[in-house]
């Protein structure tokens, strides 16, 4: 009787252990094939095309301009989404007002919306005959088919990243430290820069890394609003798109590899930030 009880109390059989192992092997194959294989393919293709192709591509004016444009869009996007993201996150966590939950939901809209739709909406607003077109035309500012609209759509798409990273951290930290700072005589600004900001810095860095990665990789919305003017409104992703269409595949691969390298670097940075954030969170 005691033997029967003992055997029913031990659920891990050799078969159960094998089941676990097979799941692990399946997951490794899934991650390896679907996530890493494409990257490996690009690296091998570029290496095979030779050093000369790589150097020529990286020296071409169109390519350099494309990288410059991507960098400009990314920098402006990161600055704007970070500043407003922290503000929105702070308001969402620290203030109770009518429509707060609606605001909370609307913030995630860019996650759900297809970038192409965003691009089209931008054309409706700023394109030829668009709502705001006369206003900017009168002042001689070119919005659509130019840098401003490309930055605008990228910002729109990147809005949620910083907010979604900062909100949970602000919630967890609570109000006590900010209250303490104020009772010690610190102004609202001093409190923000000396107390709140240092507490959310890793979440913020994480949000910035995600935003950067997204801004660099954006193509759908930018494709619509850029007008595809070669050497003028062509970002790195748009260059890859056009080069591929024009059968200049080696150049496309080289630029793609550069973008992929930046992404991998960002990924490592993100991991580092997450590690720091988790360590900081375990403190109280």
């Amino acid at each position: 009787m005691s033997a029967a009880a003992a055997s029913s109390a031990i659920p891990i059989t050799p078969r159960g252990r094998w089941g676990k192992r097979w799941i692990l092997i399946g997951c490794l194959a899934w991650v390896g094939l679907l996530l890493l294989l494409p990257l490996v393919a690009i690296v091998i293709t570029v290496v095979r095309s030779g050093a000369e192709t790589v150097l020529d591509t990286l020296r071409a004016p169109d390519v350099l301009h494309a990288f410059l444009l991507t960098a400009q869009i990314t920098v402006v996007t990161v600055l704007v989404t970070t500043a407003f993201g922290v503000m929105v996150a702070w308001v969402l966590v620290r203030q109770r007002f009518r429509g707060r939950s609606l605001m909370n939901a609307v913030v995630d809209l860019p996650f759900a919306l297809s970038p192409v739709t965003v691009g089209l909406a931008c054309v409706i607003l700023f394109g030829p005959g668009g709502w705001f077109a006369p206003f900017f035309q009168q002042r001689g500012i070119q919005v659509i088919f130019a840098l401003p609209s490309m930055i605008l759509v990228t910002i729109f798409i990147c809005i949620p990243f910083t907010i979604r990273e900062v909100v949970p951290v602000l919630e967890e930290i609570g109000l006590d430290e900010e209250d303490a700072s104020r009772t010690l005589g610190a102004s609202v600004w001093h409190t923000f820069f000396r107390v709140t900001l240092p507490n959310i810095r890793w979440a913020l860095a994480y949000g910035i890394a995600l935003t950067t990665a997204r801004a660099i990789g954006e193509i759908g919305a930018v494709l619509i609003v850029s007008g595809l003017l070669q050497g003028k409104t062509e970002t790195a992703t748009l260059f890859i798109y056009r080069a591929y269409e024009d059968r200049q595949t080696p150049e496309a691969y080289v630029v793609a590899l550069v973008l992929a390298s930046v992404s991998v670097a960002l990924l490592l940075a993100i991991e580092l930030f997450r590690h720091h954030e988790e360590r900081e969170r375990t403190r109280a």
């Binding site: 006590d176 430290e177 209250d179 303490a180 700072s181 104020r182 009772t183 010690l184 005589g185 610190a186 102004s187 001093h190 000396r194 107390v195 240092p198 507490n199 900081e280 375990t282 403190r283 109280a284």
Partner: protein, 355 residues
């Protein structure tokens, strides 16, 4: 350094909930005043309104002759100690204490000496370069106190400062805070739900219940002469005996408890009697009761008694006064210092008696 705090008709509404209603009291200069009440009684809200962290719906707050009601938190110059320490987690102990001095743009030299003095005062000097997460709860609260004292506030506000600590540390810190207060003499307002803590530390106690002040008085007055049934039940433990007022006494069954002369004839009333005011004798008392249970609390015994009318009564008596009476024995009972209050509906008689 010592200024009285005066609170007049303070009210706070959160939506449709009245958290604080018409609270008025004075915290005398240089003394410790405790705001005592169960959780949800509005005591923390009062403290936060005095600090300026919460805006009153109505009422006025003064510090000495100066009206604080419309001043910003920063202008009030209060020291605030939080239940969960609220230390700046990315700053060292030294930087935490220095924060208030930096904000007020004190000279570097002055800052260094003040921080060093304070860390010495709270026995945290060897830990100046540690971060809050490297300290124990008691150490963190001492740093929080040094930080609050650094800018030389005119009053010190403490919000359940020992609430998050375990019993032993709480005892030590309480004694230590008492000494510190004697040394500094800064007007202090302490929020607590722990009556023992309030009794030990405070010169004056403000008992709060459901957003209102129930009684203001010295610890002795609060305990010996409770103004309301709530105070009688909350501060210290008490037996509650429900009956009817006849001829200035509370009658229940054959028992007549004195002290109800202020109540209307025929009204239903409740008499509050402390367990140590229940005298147990083998013979020669007012009422006969049956011993139901005897529990030893060291030199004291906690005796559960059943009265002829079926009510239970708890007595704390020195063991030798029992003269060997045990469960099932009949004893004689006398009640000292009963406090009678008007009690609208005679409820089920379940009284809270702490061991």
């Amino acid at each position: 350094m010592s200024t009285p705090i005066v609170v007049e008709g303070l009210c706070k509404r959160f939506g449709s909930f009245d958290a604080v209603t018409d609270v008025t009291f004075t915290a005398p200069a240089g003394a410790v005043t405790a705001l005592l009440g169960p959780s949800g009684s509005g005591k923390s809200t009062v403290l936060r309104m005095i600090a300026g962290l919460e805006e009153p719906t109505a009422g006025r707050i003064f510090m000495g002759d100066e009206e604080l009601t419309v001043k910003s938190v920063q202008e009030r110059r209060v020291g605030f100690v939080f239940q969960h320490y609220a230390l700046f987690r990315h700053m060292t102990v030294q930087q935490n204490v220095e924060f208030g001095l930096r904000v007020r743009k004190a000279e570097v030299e002055q800052r260094r000496t003040r921080v060093a003095d304070l860390l010495e005062l709270v026995h945290m000097a060897p830990f100046a370069d540690r971060y809050p997460h490297q300290l124990s709860g008691g150490q963190r609260q001492r740093v929080a106190l040094a930080r609050a004292l650094a800018p030389q506030p005119s009053v010190l506000l403490l919000d359940e400062p020992f609430g998050a600590l375990d019993a032993k540390v709480r005892q030590d810190l309480r004694r230590w805070l008492d000494e510190l207060h004697r040394e500094l003499g800064v007007t202090s307002l302490l929020v607590t739900h722990d009556q023992e803590e309030a009794m030990e530390l405070a010169n004056q106690i403000v008992v709060m219940h459901e957003g209102r002040v129930e009684q203001v008085g010295s610890p002795g007055a609060i305990y010996d002469d409770p103004a309301t049934p709530f105070v009688a039940g909350f501060v210290g433990s008490a037996n509650v005996l429900h009956g009817e007022v006849v001829d200035g006494h509370v009658h229940l069954g054959s028992m007549r408890i004195p002290g109800a002369a202020h109540l209307d004839e025929g009204a239903s009333a409740a008499a509050y009697v402390r367990p140590h005011d229940v005298m147990v004798n083998r013979d020669g008392g007012d009422v006969t009761a049956v011993v139901e249970r005897v529990a030893s609390l060291g030199w004291l015994a906690r005796v559960s008694l059943r009265l002829p009318g079926g009510e239970t009564l708890v007595a704390h008596v020195p063991k030798e006064d029992l003269h060997g009476a045990g469960e099932g024995d009949e004893v004689q009972v006398d009640l000292r210092n009963p406090k009678a209050f008007f009690a609208p509906a005679p409820e089920i008689q379940v009284e809270e008696v702490a061991p």
